[in-house]
């Protein structure tokens, strides 16, 4: 790198000051800086700073409160203009902006109605999806509600697919990933922003958090959600994996209560990616049935034209078995419920 380039890359004084706001224990300084922005009438800059701060110092109730008040003020100030815009020159972007403002003012049904109207008006415009995602993301951050987090992820993914490189979509997605303690994934998402504007508050929050949170060892967002919810991550070790005697046409994997691979049949595929996917499936099933009010998971059957996967819940874990011959589904099921049971009690 040349001297001029390295000089250009050096953070300027105001950038350094901004970086200091994200140092450990700098919550009150960041809050003061946001207040100063607000006093100067730079409310959007203040909100952006506080949003990044609430991620950097999460959980930070004072920051959440200040951000809530600021966003409400912004929403109140813009509401009349947005309503007028929707009435005069209706567009998906206007409807989405009105939706966001209503959501901030507590009118959830109105907000959802306008967001859906925005999506209906132009399904390829990311703004409607983003408006819905923002509401869910706020709920996830404030209430630590997994359903809100999953919904935020769905809508953000959709919005990012529709407009790759959309700044607000990327910032929101990075925010979600950082809340899930996934700095590597967040860094990837923020790369286009960090190149263009290295002093963006969300980029600075990410940089500060990266020094404190170890890089995640998975790129599976569902795994990140499960880790976030349970506070534990499964450790799959080939050394501790026992062998399950099984007919050659069946592959069997047993996952324990921590979703780690405990045993598998001799012919079962033990690639790390497959083990992780089975582990995520076990965790998602357990989480889903209880959260949907269906009680504990008993069994799962996944049928495709070329195979059948059956999972049976037992002793806190799940035993999965697969055959690539759909005609053997009944044999597989019988083996799992009887022979496999005898093997276990051996």
């Amino acid at each position: 790198m040349g001297i001029i380039e390295s000089w250009m890359r050096r953070p300027r004084q105001d950038e350094e000051k901004q970086m200091d706001l994200f140092a450990a224990g700098a919550e009150s300084r960041l809050l003061q800086a946001a207040i100063r922005f607000d006093d100067r009438g730079q409310r959007l800059a203040a909100a952006r700073l506080l949003r990044a701060g609430t991620v950097r110092f999460h959980p930070w109730p004072d920051g959440e409160l200040a951000l809530d008040q600021l966003e409400r003020t912004l929403a109140r100030e813009s509401l009349h203009t947005l309503q007028a815009a929707v009435e005069s020159r209706y567009s998906a972007a206007d409807a989405a902006r009105l939706s966001s403002a209503l959501e901030r003012l507590g009118d959830s049904s109105g907000a959802l109605g306008w967001a859906h109207a925005a999506i209906e008006e132009d399904p390829c415009n990311p703004e409607g999806y983003l408006a819905i995602a923002r509401g869910y993301l706020r709920r996830f951050r404030r209430d630590e509600d997994a359903v809100a987090g999953l919904q935020a992820l769905r809508y953000l993914t959709k919005a990012c697919q529709l407009h790759a490189g959309h700044g607000d979509c990327l910032r929101s997605l990075a925010m979600l990933l950082l809340l899930l303690r996934a700095p590597s994934a967040a860094a990837k998402v923020l790369r286009p922003i960090s190149r263009a504007t290295p002093s963006d508050p969300m980029v600075l929050a990410l940089e500060a958090l990266s020094t404190e949170i170890p890089a995640e060892n998975t790129s599976n967002v569902q795994e990140l959600f499960l880790r976030w919810e349970t506070g534990t991550s499964p450790v799959h070790s080939e050394e501790t994996t026992a062998v399950i005697p099984a007919p050659d046409e069946f592959s069997v994997w047993e996952l324990d209560g921590t979703r780690a691979l405990a045993a598998c049949s001799a012919c079962a595929d033990q690639r790390q990616e497959l083990t992780e996917n089975l582990s995520v499936l076990a965790g998602s099933l357990t989480q889903a049935t209880t959260r949907m009010g269906l009680g504990q998971i008993a069994r799962v059957t996944a049928r495709s034209a070329d195979g059948v996967l059956i999972g049976l819940a037992e002793a806190g874990g799940v035993v999965f078995s697969h055959t690539d011959r759909p005609s053997l589904e009944n044999s597989l099921s019988r083996w799992l419920e009887s022979d496999r049971g005898r093997e276990r009690s051996r």
Binding site: Q151, G293, L294, A302
Partner: protein
Amino acid sequence: MKRLLEQLNTTPGVMGSMVMTDDGIPVVSLLGTEMDEECVAAFSSTVRLAANRTAAQLDNQHPDEVIIEAEQGNLLLINLDGALLAVMTHAGLELNTGLLEIRSVARRLREILTIRTP
């Protein structure tokens, strides 16, 4: 689509149903008041994604149907080629006979979606 779901919901044992996009975004929902639409959409989509990823590695394709049996009810996820039909049923539902009706509705929903997608 709504009419088909209404018809499906009259099947004995069926508690509610919904159609969502592949991304997990609800399209039509007839779940009944006691069920949380957001929750069903979020977790159906999560389970479907996890099952898809696993099956893609085992069978090189996504499953046509995923049937989840739990203590107090079942959740059936049927692939609609670009969308997903989620059906919640009582635990006692006879899955073999109930599935026939559900598959038949899924077939008709798939036709509607095929017509709508140029």
